[in-house]
Amino acid sequence: MSESVALNPNSAWTGGKSPFGVSYGKLMMWVFLLSDAFTFSSLLVTYGCNRYLSGGSEIKWPHPDQVFNHFPGIHGVDMLGPGSGLPLLFVSLMTFILIFSSVTMVLAVEAGSRKHRNDVAFYMFLTIIGGIAFLSCQAWEWTQFIQGSHEGSKFLVNGEKIYGANLFLNEYGPAAFAGLFFIVTGFHGFHVLSGVVLNVIIYVNVIKGTYDKRGHYEMIEKVGLYWHFVDLVWVFVFTFFYLI
């Protein structure tokens, strides 16, 4: 009874070990990404429900390939028959830009595991450029969407045609079409923007040698998780808004 039981030094109860095998920071980044996935899921469900709900109304939900058929600098080219434009070409470019920036991000993480500062800096720089390119493309897409077309809406509201789009009315279809487009792509774009800001901060730290001093490049992995999440969300936003 008076004996004390020595703790096995390898036991998990002696502390200093994460049950998940990763550091606190990385685990919390994963948990944050899970919560963000919930938020985006709820937005996409809202999109689905609104689209189903508009099935019976007079103003029909438009086909995405008839709305998103522009490409900067190319006019008058029709891919699938007269008036069809270049459907989904620009958004496929945006998807490739984001996937490629994800690849450069993983390459930065891989260089970090080799503690190769110059490679990390080079790939982080490419990732930042990719992010800025994506945001520029998205800004152009929004401008096109807001300006609208020459012909205006195919339906009348209060006896008048609508031109362009805003959060209340749009020339393409029901109000929810433009509203959801702005909210969901805008929320995603906000994530890309914050990702670019984080990447710039980490890039500066890489150049300064902060991670060499620290002894590990784990921060690159953490910020990489965030960037890949942004890419993953884009895969689904692009599927739901442009393909389905």
Binding site: S41, L53, F96, V103, E221, V235, L243
Partner: protein, 112 residues
């Protein structure tokens, strides 16, 4: 502060196994799947089965992004579980809510 730094350092694995070759190979797979997306979009009519194919392709892409780019395949299984199991529930919820949305459109028409 000291303890946290220690923990971070001991927990950090030194680049387990992801080679540049694997990274570029995954990029190739993701690009190919995106091209398949577009091929199906332009060559198939807009039905529910086509939508299901798009969602399935999205899930396959997620496997590669989460598993390889985000390193999940190399992590402890418990970590994968704690992230993917709740999201599995969310997927069920999404399916249920979309089904409900379809029903609501019927009820809305009926009421109006």
């Amino acid at each position: 502060m000291e303890h946290t730094d220690n923990t971070e350092h001991t927990e950090h694995h030194e680049g387990h196994g992801i080679s540049k070759k694997a990274i570029w190979r995954t990029f190739g797979i993701l690009s190919f799947l995106t091209v398949v997306d577009f091929a199906i979009f332009f060559n198939m009519d807009g039905t529910m089965s086509r939508n299901m194919i798009f969602v399935a392709l999205g899930i396959i892409k997620s496997y590669y992004i989460v598993g390889i780019f985000m390193h999940m395949n190399y992590e402890v299984k418990r970590l994968a579980g704690i992230i993917l199991l709740p999201f599995g529930f969310i997927l069920g919820l999404i399916a249920a809510l979309l089904y409900e949305g379809d029903r609501w459109s019927v009820i809305k028409w009926f009421v109006e």
